[in-house]
Amino acid sequence: MAADPREDDLPSKPPVWNDPRIRALVFQIAIVIAVSAFGYYLFDNTLTNLEKRGITTGFGFLDSQASFGIIQTLVEYSETSTYGRTFIVGLLNTLLVSGLGIVLATLLGFIIGIARLSSNWLIAKLAAAYVEIFRNIPLLLQIFFWYFAVLRALPSPRQSHDLGGVVFLNLRGLYLPRPLFEPGFGFVFAALVAAIAGSILITRWASRRQEATGQQFHTIYTAIGLILGLPLLTFLALGAPLAWELPELRGFNFQGGIPVIPELSALLVALSIYTAAFIAEIVRAGILAVSRGQTEAAHALGLRPGLTLRLVIIPQAMRVIIPPLTSQYLNLTKNSSLATAIGYPDLVSVFAGTTLNQTGQAVEVIAMTMGVYLTISLVISLLMNWYNKRKTLVER
């Protein structure tokens, strides 16, 4: 006879192996162990096999002398630099083309995306044609097109197009004059910084005043005047402390100045135009996602179409635009590795190409290269997620 009859009435506690929570935990632990063991097996297996075949391993090669030339280097580099240095040079070249590409693709993409929604028939159709053409042709072909088409149209260095004897354009690239800063130029920079800071303060003051009193202030003109005027006045007051190093034809090619190699231009144009087609569609989708009522309400309040777009539509559309935009930025960065096809010295061409071949350290070099792309992509994701969080709907 049971001491407490209620105990029998309770549903019996399930055995441990049937408890869903414990079971879920066990499975997760088992999977983590299995994946780690598999990863370790691969790592160990690779090392063992490399050793068995007499292939040198390790990262010591990064300190040996590279002895090969690179056409575009953003930091000091010569043939006597190390393989580690080639990594930095390649990385910076990749960042340069991706960074510029992201800016250009975004600008172009927004313009085309908005143009496609224009009520002007011709503009809308042109934008639609742009999108359909450029996003449907493989990127590699576009890169070849811009490289070889543009290259063939340009003259040889001896018959360069020149712009007032200052800027030169030929097969070997675009040559710009290089500014040489003389002592005292620091003040001009200081004036520029001060002007920018002043403009920000004025903008804040103006918007506070508008919220309080409704009076508007010509912020844009004031800011432009300040940012252009103040450094210019300082510059003239100091007696123009700036000289220019002009490119000049010596031997086969132009020397001096800032050379922009055609590989960079072709890659940048191809990447921007290709990615802009996708961004345009994202922007269009974002704008269409904002209900028509918002536009009507804004118009009813008396806002002009430009203001409606800027103050009402775009801020709401951004919430839809940002997440897919992030993917496009990541795509652009990763696509920049196609540079190797036209000889732009990016990370894949310089480090995973020449350095890999000279040293033969395939596993190490490829691992480092993959690590770099992973890091760049994660950083972009992180920044865009942070921006996205700021833009998400704050419910009150």
Binding site: I70, Q255, G343
Partner: protein, 340 residues
């Protein structure tokens, strides 16, 4: 979804692991078993290894593969080709994807000692040179200060080039392409003043130009480029087979044995010829082959001189002189240890 990803990634990695664990072991046995030689060649260098519109491979490097197949399997056509870029070639050999690499690869200390591969000999003595457009008016490489130079990535030429310019205190701008086709296209478009590569390749690339006469090869040779077949380290038997296949071709030329007269010579009395063609002694068996190994090579592929003239010499569009690649008896460097 995520489980599916893990499984997909796992499968990919397992394949990778399988690729690296495939033990080199006895390459000779595996070649005999599968019935063909898997040979790594270039993606298309006329005279060395290039495929015609029917997919038939020809060239001096291809003939080395064919000779190995003839020696091992008795059939020079039992070869399967894997076209490789300069960047891929050594990895393909290391990973066991190919049995041998015959792709104008320069024999250097680093490659021979630290990459787990062995060079078996030299089938072409080359040196790096320069191709320039004739209207540039340049007669010597010493006039190239400040020039833009087109070059193929992943080759020893990149190092030689910068060493040469540094030693002569000259400046240059390297424009690095991925394949030799892109390199010559860049040169033709005028992206660079000079194209640099092994001299043999310059002649081969020159005939790819729309107007081959618009460009010329400068006289300077700035490096030693001994090109030869490569095998994986650690399989001495296979190393010997490839090495002696090459030696057999050189010895055949020295002894005057050709594809046309090999049967006649075999019936002759010269003991050197008899040992080589297998009517005397057991040299082939000692290598793990049949005693007719060298007979098959000469009968089906020819001797070294025939191979040279047919692919890159007088009998070809390239028209390269024997030069360094003449027999040692004619003032060249081609010399093979005796077969006895």
């Amino acid at each position: 979804m995520s489980k599916l990803h893990i499984m997909a990634a796992g499968t990919a990695l397992a394949l990778l692991a399988a690729g690296t664990t495939a033990q080199a072991g006895a390459t000779l046995d595996s070649v005999k078993q599968k019935g063909h030689v898997q040979c790594g060649v270039s993606t298309g260098i006329p005279g060395f290894s290039s495929a015609d519109d029917k997919g038939n491979w020809t060239g001096i490097d291809v003939d080395v593969c064919r000779a190995v197949a003839a020696a091992v399997l008795g059939d020079a056509n039992a070869v399967k080709y894997t076209p490789l870029t300069a960047k891929e070639r050594l990895t393909a050999l290391q990973s066991g994807e190919i049995d041998m690499l015959s792709r104008n690869t320069t024999w250097t200390a680093t490659r021979d000692t630290s990459l787990g591969i062995n060079f078996t000999g030299v089938n072409y003595y080359d040196g790096q040179g320069f191709l320039v457009s004739k209207n540039l008016g340049v007669k010597s490489a010493l006039e190239l200060n400040g020039a833009s130079v087109c070059i193929q990535s992943g080759t020893t030429t990149e190092l030689n080039l910068s060493d040469y310019f540094r030693a002569k205190k000259m400046e240059f701008q390297p424009v690095v392409f991925d394949t030799s086709d892109q390199t010559i296209k860049g040169f033709e478009a005028g992206r660079c003043d000079v194209l640099t590569s092994d001299q043999s390749q310059l002649y081969a690339l020159r005939i790819k130009l729309a107007d081959p006469n618009s460009a010329m090869v400068l006289p300077e040779v700035i490096s030693k480029e001994p090109l030869g077949p490569v095998v994986r380290q650690g399989d001495d038997q296979w190393f010997n087979v490839v090495k002696w296949t090459l030696f057999a071709m050189v010895n055949a030329e020295e002894l005057g044995i050709t594809a046309a007269n090999v049967d006649e010579m075999k019936a002759g009395t010269d003991p050197n010829v008899k040992r080589m063609l297998g009517t005397e002694g057991d040299i082939g068996v000692g290598m793990g082959l049949g005693n007719d190994w060298a007979y098959n090579i000469v009968k089906q592929v020819g001797n070294y001189g025939e191979m040279f003239e047919r692919n890159v010499g007088k009998g070809s569009p390239l028209g390269i002189e024997r030069g360094l690649n003449a027999l040692w008896t004619n003032g060249g460097l081609q010399y093979a240890p005796p077969i006895r």
